[in-house]
Amino acid sequence: MSVLVVVEREPGGVDELSLQALALARTLAQGASIEALAVTPPSDTVSQGVAATLGEHGVSTLHVAEHAVFGSYAPTAVAQAAVELAERLQPAAIVGAGTERGNEVLAHIAARLDLPLAANCIAAASGDPARVTRLRWGGSLLEEADVHGAPTLLTVAPHLVTAERAPAGEAAVEHFAPTLSEADQLVRVTDRAEDDTAGGVSLADAKVVVSSGRGAGSPEGFGIIEELADLLGGAVGCSRAVTMAGWRPHTDQVGQTGTKIAPDIYIACGISGATQHMAGCKGAKTILAVNTDPQAPILASADYAVIGDLHEVVPAISAELRKARQT
């Protein structure tokens, strides 16, 4: 018995979230071999570095599916390659990273095999049924669940399982050419529209995020939020109440149905702290809330708080920062 992990590559290596998926896969494998699947167009080569990294994370064999369709992202083709490989390996489980693409590919595998899929797991124990703990409500709640049938299909929630090295020597590399029908190849990325608003700090990667909610009162209320974000070299965020009012674009929204952020500090001004908002900032190392209401729910998730009107507090922080920098 083995566990098969569908890995995603990034330029020059293996995506960090795939390494996290490997860590959970090892707990599921209990010593059985870990097999990895990567896809590539025939012209390309999977670097030796990838096999070395995967070996350091416990992979015994890297199976490389080669096909022209893998020149761009093609979810059903990846899933079909995994299904074909699984027919040969008969793994006890197939695991992917809980990225948009990992969830998509695993769902296609689940549909093809007519098996359940547990998305965004943080723990898993093998068995029949397998027992998993997974995120629901964008991570506001956990569910313990039994997954019936074999192989067990699951994805691993991002940033909640630590990627750890488990050296198994360099992974062996085996190439295969999956048999893909026209239908398997129909859905693929055919074009890329570059973002022309590039530049500035992206919300998802910012070290500092300053955001506001209904408490900002108006689109103009964000002037002082932008000012503080600029001073700190950070990005501006907002709550859904703000995007619904049309004060800011949805790209600024933090939360379950917005952007997930992981800054060193998140400064949330005039935001009540609804569970769906907090689902987007669980990755923040420190949360500072500015709120007029000492009973606001966000105070139960924040590390620090200032009680007061953001229209007074935020400009005062900016002024104090400028003062501190002059001396």
């Binding site: 409500w137 669940a145 997954v147 019936h148 693929r188 890329r192 500092v208 009540s272 809330a289 139960a300």
Partner: protein, 255 residues
Amino acid sequence: MNVLVCVKRVPMTGGKIVLTADEQAIATQHLGFTISPHEECGVEEAVRIVEQHGGESVVLTLGPPEAEEQLRDAMALGMDRAIHLVIGDDEDWDAQATATAILDAIEAEHAAGVDFDLIFFGNESADSGGYQVGIRVAHALERPIATGLKGVAVEAGRVRCEQEVPGGRDVFDLPLPAVVTVKEGLNFPRYPSVPGRMRAQKKPIASSSPTAAPARLEKVRLVSPPGERKEAEILGHGPDAAPKVVELLQRIGVA
């Protein structure tokens, strides 16, 4: 163009989630209900497509009798009619069973002469977050599916799909009939008008009661994530707290 949108009724939790004593569900006595913002955008897009291309827009839910509220809400925004797959109040169907029931409903429509050119799902449901019901339905129908979309444009028998990725947008171009799963940010949903609400009361809902298959992703219990509740350290009140905040920013190394 006939367009179907699948939506799921979920409780609108506020600042804190309270579980029922048996740990099987969220205590909802004091909560309102809604659908995922992703699905709201699916409803808006379907209404716009039918406004532009003609045809019929249909909203479907598998949910308790009370989920009629969410169907009426969608019809108030312009959906033409609804399909209600009625289940018990405390039933929590897994993704496989849900997809099968939706598929049966689509096949019943087909038998009655209605075929959907485009079917909308949310990228993930608000409560379960399974990322899979749409993909299962598309696979069973042998139709192409693109997921997580923030752009959907129907033209000449095809649908151009845009997915947000770091640095830009990836484009998928699918022939119709097709299935799409969408995300909030796809469009800016309209608010229901009073006449819209009145009209929605008269629009037809076809109800039926599917039978549940045993869950294969079987919930054992729900738990709150550990280490959730703490008390924030109050740095001060009003603008006078600014020096303390700057100290904190310096300590963290971001000032």
